[in-house]
Symmetry: C2
Subunit: 500 residues, 2 copies
């Protein structure tokens, strides 16, 4: 195979891959947002079918040979092509280690598992989900053995979501967080608590939806290239930069839930919508890692969305939407309410300070699962609940609010959770360096978010998968990832709010 033939082979297979991916992505979107109950099975089977097509592309002899040819002529490749070849080889090698029938079975299993999990959660009955979860974990264990690993077996999964990450590094990171956060929470618990009664009113759901749409637009989400829908679990999904979709959720009693879901997912979406045109349609038009993706959602959710300066422009608009409910509530009061620190059961509703501990718990549970092959599936709820007692001091009364609360395991995403804490901490690292070139506070106060978005696009979004997470982070200020910026931020912010 000549160099040009190899290029053509890669190109043809990328186009095929994109089409099959589009089908899978759209079926997933449909499953999460609207598929009728009895349509789920056939939809899931179709995911299996199209996954098999992808498997065949990634593992075909011709394709792998083409990658080899290109790799031995790297000097003739552009920077973008080099990275594509590197990632494609890595991906192909990994995929080829999984037997085809297991790859397909796993795809179908996880597509179906979502509705099993949803039923278990709704009925608050872990036993409904236990068997499916067990099968998923078995697959994960097999995959770990196929992939191989150094150090901890969980490493094989962790680095799937965050290139270069390991249990050793994560242990360090989480220990830092625990050391700084746990005492801070303890101090706050002795202070007078913020009264959030005003948030327990009923907020009309249709008005919330309209406000969410306005809010996403305010954050420069481009509705010509995306849409906002509704789902049980908010999420972001993209076909390419020209079609990026987010969901939020709405309950009359939970105004802040819809607001921060929308801001969070908008942050994800802005990453996807602002990737460079030079990587469009290539393997690189994906996030470089889930941690970096999360850094964008958390940047918007926390550093922008939970900042009082942001609300100077936005709160009057919200008050206008909910005149009867909010006209008596001052901006300062609203700000304090959205930042109440309170150990609670549900990760996605957690405040900024207790949030990382929810992740610590999941991290430790997952680590235990993969270092202990004889662990029974039925012991997991107990393990989960004991950790909530240990780190957050609360009793889990029901599995729906405990181990069944998150969708991730049903999708087979073990090793994913740590990226939530990493991303959150990356966001503070990014802001620290952004402040050297931008007057972040003034821009936020003026409601001029464009320069902030431009900085993120310039330094993060445009690259997609072209640069590694650690490269992106390092390039911001010639400094490796430093979790201190995150803990410093938390200490300063919450000391002020709670007058410590």
């Amino acid at each position: 195979m000549t160099f040009d033939e190899a290029k053509k082979c890669l190109n043809d297979n990328t186009i095929k891959r994109n089409h099959f991916n589009r089908a899978i992505t759209l079926i997933c979107w449909d499953l999460e947002t609207q598929t009728p109950a009895k349509g789920v099975v056939r939809h899931s089977e179709a995911i299996g079918f199209f996954s098999e097509k992808l498997y065949k592309i990634f593992t075909s002899k011709e394709y792998r040979h083409a990658l080899e040819v290109l790799n031995t002529s790297r000097e003739n490749l552009t920077e973008i092509e080099k990275r594509i070849v590197t990632l494609s080889i890595k991906n192909s090698d990994k995929t080829a280690k999984i037997p085809q029938h297991e790859y397909v079975e796993f795809s179908e299993l996880t597509a179906l598992a979502q509705s099993v999990w949803a039923e278990a959660r709704e009925k608050n009955d872990f036993s409904i989900f236990a068997h499916t979860l067990e099968k998923i974990i078995e697959f994960q264990r097999k995959f770990i053995s196929y992939f191989g690993f150094e150090g901890h077996p969980y490493n094989a999964l962790v680095c799937e979501y965050e290139e270069g990450m390991s249990v050793e590094k994560l242990d360090d990171f989480f220990n830092t967080l625990k050391q700084e956060i746990v005492p801070l929470i303890a101090r706050i618990s002795k202070e007078p608590q913020i009264n959030t009664e005003a948030l327990h009113q009923k907020f009309d759901v249709d008005t919330q939806k309209k406000f969410s749409k306005w809010l996403a637009e305010y954050l420069h989400f481009d509705f010509e290239r995306g849409l906002l829908a509704e789902s049980v679990h908010p999420f972001t999904l993209h076909f390419d930069k020209n079609d990026v979709r987010i969901t939020s959720r709405y309950h009359a009693e939970l105004l802040l839930s819809s607001i921060f879901s929308t801001i969070h997912e908008s942050g994800h979406a802005l990453y996807d919508q602002n990737m460079g045109d030079d990587i469009l349609g290539t393997l690189l038009s994906e996030e470089t890692s889930y941690g970096i993706h999360e850094s964008q959602s958390r940047f918007f959710e926390n550093l922008i969305g939970k900042n009082i300066l942001f609300w100077k422009k936005v709160y009057p608009k919200l008050q206008e939407s909910f005149k009867a409910e909010l006209s008596d509530i001052s901006l300062e009061n609203f700000y304090r309410m959205m930042n109440i620190v309170e150990p609670s059961l549900i990760r996605v509703e957690a405040d900024e300070l207790t949030y990382p501990l929810h992740i610590v718990i999941r991290y430790e549970v997952e680590k235990t699962i993969f270092e202990n092959p004889s662990l029974s599936i039925h012991d997991l709820p107990k393990l989960w609940n004991s950790k909530y007692k240990e780190y957050l001091g609360i009793d889990v009364q029901s599995d729906s609010e405990g181990i069944l609360q998150d969708v991730h395991w049903s999708g087979g995403s073990f090793g994913y959770f740590p990226t939530y804490a990493l991303g959150t901490a990356y966001a503070s690292h990014i802001l620290y360096h952004m402040r050297k070139t931008l007057d972040f506070d003034t821009l936020l106060e003026k409601g001029d978010l464009r320069p902030i978005l431009n900085y993120l696009t310039q330094n993060i979004h445009q690259y997609g998968g072209l640069k590694t997470p650690s490269e992106l982070i390092f390039n911001l200020g010639q400094e490796d990832f430093n979790p201190k910026y995150f803990t410093d931020y938390l200490k300063e912010k919450f000391s002020k709010i709670y007058n410590l």
Copy 2:
């Protein structure tokens, strides 16, 4: 290839076909209901890609050989298998006549054309759509020459939607309709007109949506196996009997539009939801023809939905939803308003009596296009408008309300429109024979629609594509399709309403 190998080959290809079809169907659903503007192009390309996959299945040597093997051993096939083989051979022969690249180009073109048409319609500018339409018509002319035809070239398209139909038969049919309907409309035009002022109030859109959902359920649409969404043009689409989707449309000023769209599409959906389990997953789990499909939607829309007996139970529910607007309007008044006869511009809003003339116009325009290859695309609006003047006596002031009103041509569906009139007339033929075994009026009045649905399922739905349209119609009462039942019904109903 042995008989068993041939069976396996057909089976394997059917599964593949189903998955690719699912992808195409879902992309179409997405395009019609939600795809953001800039996501349309890639979605359309994907349709082209998956259409190519279908083309390759239908035309592969192995598949065609398998069909031949099965066809020469028909004595070993079940009734269902025989029909599958017959239809598959027909389909494969037809597809193979179109060169692959044209098949794919045409799929992509028509997927894209929908948004071009929508823009043209919105901007009331035929010239935006003209070039695309011209290309679509060129493809149709080519396909006609590939397929071959007897008699009129338009026959090659007409029989695509209605097996066994021809221009000759349609000319007869439409002449009958014209002879009976035109004088009736003329007589009615001399009578005092029904006052429909009460319908020109504003009806809250969210309440309309809730009522539509209730209405679909009342008609036995199964929401476990389907959903109701919103689109510019209401339509029905199904993956299989377990996932059947309908849309409606809602405007505050057009209460009846949402009601009758929902009833119409529910009628379609009930056909799809009630096909037999023995044909599930096969080629036969599709309508046998578009005319038969339309007979079901029109049965529900007109014979049930525009019948005063139906509204005895339903109108109080509607009044409850719109207390302020409807409490002063009597059932009789409401019934008369929904049955006003009034020549108008828009087909889908037309009354039962003028509706067939809208179809006559489209039929004649399409016939002209294909018998006259030198006809300029730019002459079409004039031709359209002159026919509206001739048959309905009205002036078309804008193309949006004229030639641009319908989506069909953008989808390449020439030859489709006649099935609307056929289906409408089939419905009366069905009812005539249904009345011999069911007390239709009493059931309607009691709101007991189940026996009516059972009759339709028994005689129509369950068979899917197993029986031809003319077999289904004949088997109802051992009588070939008789349009007289339709014209008799119209004469009786409207003579009564207008006291002729």
